[in-house]
Symmetry: none
Subunit: 205 residues, 4 copies
Amino acid sequence: MKSDDAPRPRGRPRSTKARSAILRAARELLAEGGPAAVTMEGVASRAGVGKPTVYRWWPDRHAVAMAALMEGEAPQTTRRAPRSAILALRQQLRTIAERFASPTGRHVATMIAASDLETEFSKAFRNHFVLARRAEGRVLLEQAIREGDIRTDLDAEVALDLLYGPLFFRLLMGHAPLDASFTDEVLSHALQGLARRKSSIRSGG
Amino acid sequence: MKSDDAPRPRGRPRSTKARSAILRAARELLAEGGPAAVTMEGVASRAGVGKPTVYRWWPDRHAVAMAALMEGEAPQTTRRAPRSAILALRQQLRTIAERFASPTGRHVATMIAASDLETEFSKAFRNHFVLARRAEGRVLLEQAIREGDIRTDLDAEVALDLLYGPLFFRLLMGHAPLDASFTDEVLSHALQGLARRKSSIRSGG
Amino acid sequence: MKSDDAPRPRGRPRSTKARSAILRAARELLAEGGPAAVTMEGVASRAGVGKPTVYRWWPDRHAVAMAALMEGEAPQTTRRAPRSAILALRQQLRTIAERFASPTGRHVATMIAASDLETEFSKAFRNHFVLARRAEGRVLLEQAIREGDIRTDLDAEVALDLLYGPLFFRLLMGHAPLDASFTDEVLSHALQGLARRKSSIRSGG
Amino acid sequence: MKSDDAPRPRGRPRSTKARSAILRAARELLAEGGPAAVTMEGVASRAGVGKPTVYRWWPDRHAVAMAALMEGEAPQTTRRAPRSAILALRQQLRTIAERFASPTGRHVATMIAASDLETEFSKAFRNHFVLARRAEGRVLLEQAIREGDIRTDLDAEVALDLLYGPLFFRLLMGHAPLDASFTDEVLSHALQGLARRKSSIRSGG
DNA sequence: ATCTAAGCGAGACGGTACGTCACGTCTTGGG
DNA sequence: CCCAAGACGTGACGTACCGTCTCGCTTAGAT
């Protein structure tokens, strides 16, 4: 069989040099002035690139900013594997909190909230920064279930939102700090539950 | 006599009429095209008002849009008081979810993301739409503690974020529906906890 | 020998098919939207030709438009030779007027105005559409002199401009119709002169 | 009666300062690079004016260039009245030729030929630079008729085009110089006629 | 029967200018 | 003193073409 699903593009190929210059420029502007500073004109002129070239790669400035954030991410510093899935979850939540507490984190959140929700690009963006981590969390959660630390009768989607939701909440509302001690507490409260233990007999409801 | 209590200002009685015309126009534009459609020019012209008049009340278009959202909120349909604080919480979460699931909910999220976080106006906005509800939740939580349904040894701020964070999360990410069954599950999962009961009764592995 | 002044071109020869496709496309665009519509991109895409191919033949879009106009001209419908040079002149002026009155006439004027005046291409263009006719006129004028219908003491260049200038004038200014009756009158006025006859026969004031 | 056909404009009045700055900038650019150099961006930036302000006054760059040319015209240097209408005509033709021989003259011609012919603006432009002079010429021509120097049986419109057409012809075609000796010869040839005097008896035909 | 160099279509490149929109400020005259 | 109206300078928008440059593929004359 031939791999003819990539129909051999005609014409001059896109310049990856231009692409990376654009992303670098966008990253700089993002760092200097936040998402609002990522204008097409600014990006193009700083990248030494024509405006149409930017539009050739991305449909609008939001997409450029998102791409810059996604591409600009530092490589994952893999830490040694924790002993249990619960500990791994705790570690992951701490890492996420640390990253989101940075200016870049604010930018990510801003862009997520401002984006269209239906656009392909914004879906990819949310997936990259949040849902992928949440999916990792799902793996850890299932592992924790197998390890006997988590109840088997719960709705995993709800459980995941219970863990990751509070992070975003603080990030966007800014009503309280977003740090490791917070995520640790979120995890422990979520695990233990808020309800007072009435008695070992009471089945709940 | 009340006829002479406003003798000195020379041209001002129009003010409240202009103000509400502006807000009505902003609300309409919001409904038609989202926050991006709330432009100063659009608002002013639709309200039949000069641009400087708009600037007299609000510093920029974000503020106008926020004010429109805040003012435009339907009056609270007070439902009969639930029997317990827990049930009241459940009811409140349902109500919030219902509102967030509407287009207005998306607009609120967008505005929160776009706003400065430090501005007085945006603080008021976040407070109006989110933190005020969270504060109501704190009251209910304390009541629930007194009623003996909630543990006394928990961090209330964390507990509150555990309840409200997931709603916000789904609002922003749109990865799953934001409805009453979700908030019910959030509440029950948060109360019961995710951890498997390792009670003293538990006999074996 | 003249065969070796073309130094034996290597490689693939130019495609005359491409050339004529380009000119046809340019002619169509000219007809549809005037000279402004003859863009390199438009011509190339309509001709199914790459842009560099167009540039291989002509230096810029003006040249393409000019070439299209020159090539697209209908073949000269040779009418039977008139009895005298004066009548031939009258016929020629009528023909020119007829052509200038068409949309193509306006396009020619536009191109002449837009062109550099010094460029080789624009010289050829002006020559093709105007000066060549004027040169034909010079022949007829000289013939008419020989036939005894035209004075021998006049400046032929001035005389020619006297005949062809008015046509061009109406073409450019559009202040009055450009038709056969006009050119006939131009010719007769030019021949007879505007001045009142102050002949020796004239008896009194 | 009230003069209510000028319905008293509301709002801030147009800044004539901006207007004249725009025209000055356009005039400079015209002098430096011809009509092609009169770009909206260039004009606006050189005039220290926003682009929208330029568009508020004129619909496109052609109009700006035309307005600049019309406004920038040096005041008419009135020369002493000649003894006869014929001499006045000769003087006028010389003056026109002198002006059109300048770079500005080329620009005027270029703009005339490039313009739409139907636009109100371009009509005004042609009128200002050419048809107004031609109208002056009509007055002189009628005066010359009264003075007995010009035939009474001619078509004045044709006669006028016979005088002014050759000027434009040389201006645009550049095939021969456009100077006073040319216009003098045009006038004398037009007056005397090109035809050979067959005999004093022959009435013409 | 190759070889090989130019032409071919396509289309991305860095640019420039377009004409529009909205910003937030300033300037009118009227009430 | 506020009001509506609207012009102001600013600056970004997204588009259209410019003329140049790479691609990989013909194609036809020279070898």
